[in-house]
């Protein structure tokens, strides 16, 4: 992602800031708020999957942990929401750090299984505990203010996006992470400690996810193990990121918008056929893995790059070879 993309992203952000003053319909505002939430979940999954190559099939657990910890602090400790929220994110980060030490040593497939199992265990934990309300879940004090949640979600996801963009695309950290994705053994000979770098990436993926969970809990005012700790959170984030294009930030963003729009329309018109939605979701992932292995954005940007190179080659042969050096 280059400067032009960043500018483009900023324009989008500006437009999104203006949405509430145009959109009066609260249902529609709510839909956009949720779409932004999914962008956050897709990119936070992507920074581990796309940049380090580790597929976390328990991503939803971080969302749920953030949601529950925030809810517990508000309900039991009577903390103000804005104080409870970062602690919820931190809790997700701590769980990632603890879980990551043994699991990030595993090879990819085993890591996927381990994270999936961990998420199931956490979900079961929330089901049997008293403090979490078991299967009945938890109710939060209602704070019914759609605009507040819209702006909070937008700002949070914008900060997450910007932070990730800086860390994974601008800062040396991103290169280190990619080196480990490409060849862990080779990276070690260049002074990189793979365990440490992967652990950092895992925690960086978990904390924002936990924060999004906290916002979700306070916004929806009701959470239970199925809604915030279930498989669906992970599954959708995975499909969005894979469909959009791993390791690009923009890809998962586009993927999230498209898949979420589809889901919303589907829910609105065909709500009796929820199973059908899951079947289609599975179909989309299968088809995109086979036909768009780099996702929508990956395929598109590759095509554009190839075309640019072709144009450069015909118009100004090799003129740019030295020109690109210090950009």
């Amino acid at each position: 992602m280059n400067r032009k993309h960043l500018l483009f992203t900023l324009v989008i952000f500006g437009l999104l800031m203006a949405v509430p003053s145009v959109v009066r319909d609260t249902f529609f505002l709510r839909v956009i708020t949720e779409a932004i939430l999914w962008i956050g979940l897709a990119i936070s999954w992507d920074v581990l999957a796309g940049y380090t190559g580790y597929l976390n099939f328990g991503h939803g657990a971080f969302f749920g942990i953030g949601a529950y910890v925030t809810a517990l602090l508000i309900n039991l400790a009577h903390w103000p929401f804005l104080l409870a929220l970062p602690v919820g994110g931190l809790a997700a980060g701590v769980v990632a750090a603890i879980a990551g030490i043994p699991t990030l040593r595993l090879k990819g497939a085993y890591f996927a299984i381990a994270t999936w199992a961990l998420a199931r265990a956490i979900q079961q934990g929330a089901l049997v505990m008293d403090i979490t309300g078991g299967p009945d879940g938890m109710r939060l004090p209602p704070f019914l203010h759609p605009h507040f949640f819209y702006f909070l979600m937008l700002l949070t996801v914008a900060i997450i996006f910007g932070g990730y963009w800086f860390l994974f695309e601008k800062a040396p950290f991103g290169l280190k992470v990619k080196a480990i994705r490409e060849d862990e053994q080779g990276a070690m000979s260049l002074g990189l400690n793979p365990s440490w770098i992967k652990l950092q990436a895992f925690v960086l993926s978990a904390i924002p996810t936990g924060i999004l969970g906290g916002i979700y809990a306070y916004w929806i005012t009701y959470i239970d193990p199925a809604s915030v700790l279930g498989d669906l959170v992970t599954d959708q984030a995975v499909v969005m990121a894979v469909f959009g294009g791993l390791g690009t930030l923009i890809g998962p963003t586009i993927g999230a918008v498209i898949i979420f729009a589809f889901k919303t329309c589907f829910w609105a018109y065909l709500s009796d056929y929820q199973v059908l939605y899951l079947i289609i979701l599975g179909g989309v992932i299968a088809v995109s893995v086979v036909f768009l292995p780099n996702g929508l954005w990956g395929t598109l940007s590759e095509y554009l790059r190839a075309r640019r190179i072709m144009k450069n080659n015909t118009s100004a042969p090799r003129a740019t070879d030295k020109g690109v050096r210090h950009v």
């Binding site: 601008k170 800062a171 040396p172 290169l175 280190k176 990619k178 080196a179 994705r181 490409e182 060849d183 053994q185 080779g186 990276a187 070690m188 000979s189 260049l190 002074g191 990189l192 400690n193 070879d321 690109v324 050096r325 210090h326």
Partner: protein, 251 residues
């Protein structure tokens, strides 16, 4: 790893000391009780038939395997069993016989990553990477994907990455094999220029012409054991060495 409390008697001038190193895989002694030293500024050739244990010894020296017995000392410090990334940071660079480019990244990015150990800021790392690419002759390929390099280019990239660490000791595992004569000469020229810069080099190579021309001393392994050591001419006429190579690949 526990370090001995009493440091080595009188810091020796040996840059690297390999002391009775053994590395076994199951029952196989891939490297068995091998000892030799490297002085600062030397080029040491490490030769031996296929499967002699050369790469395994490289892996032990660079921290990929802990030795089952014996020690490796670098600048007098026991480094046996330390992880590769720590050894890279204290000045041991290596290449891989089976090259390990970061295929999805550009040539420049590959070398920038290696530069980050010495130059943690991206800008400085990039400047340094450009300098390295100039010396290794890859500068004009800097912006292409590493996966699109030819074998010669990939070997050159291996060397570039190891060099970007600014190593004191450089381990080169068959960086000439597989190159055409022109490319081979360029690589040999590069290795000699590195020595002039003061880098100490341990090189594995099957091509005798290379080893004989550039090594100050040669260490010969066979079935994991050191069977000879000395200046290239003496080693080449050593009956034991000739014996080891007979039937393998008469050079």
């Amino acid at each position: 790893m526990s370090e001995p409390a009493i440091s080595d008697p009188a810091p020796s001038e040996h840059l690297l000391q390999v002391e009775g190193v053994t590395k076994t895989f199951g029952g196989l002694h891939a490297v068995f009780q091998v000892s030799f030293q490297i002085n600062s500024g030397e080029i040491i050739g490490l030769i031996g038939p296929n499967g002699a244990g050369k790469t395994t010894l490289f892996n032990v020296i660079s921290g990929y395997y802990a030795p089952n017995a014996g020690h490796i000392r670098f600048n007098g410090q026991d480094i046996s069993g330390k992880p590769p990334y720590k050894l890279a940071a204290i000045g041991i660079g290596r290449t891989f016989q089976v090259v390990k480019p970061f295929a999805g990244l550009t040539v420049l990015e590959n070398v920038v990553i290696a530069s980050l150990v010495r130059y943690p800021k991206r800008r400085q790392a990039e400047e340094h990477a450009w300098k390295v690419l100039e010396t290794t002759g890859l500068a004009d390929r800097a912006t292409v994907q590493a996966s699109s390099l030819t074998l010669a280019g990939r070997k050159r990239l291996e060397v570039s990455k190891a060099l970007a660490l600014e190593p004191t000791l450089l381990l080169l595992d068959e960086v000439v094999a597989g190159l055409n004569p022109t490319e081979a000469d360029r690589t040999i020229e590069l290795i000699l220029s590195l020595r002039r810069q003061g880098i100490t080099i341990l090189i594995v190579e099957h091509i005798m012409r290379v080893i004989m021309n550039i090594s100050d001393r040669v260490v010969v392994l066979n079935f994991g054991q050191k069977i000879a050591e000395g200046n290239p001419r003496d080693v080449a006429t050593n009956p034991g060495v000739i014996q080891a190579y007979l039937g393998e690949a008469p050079q």
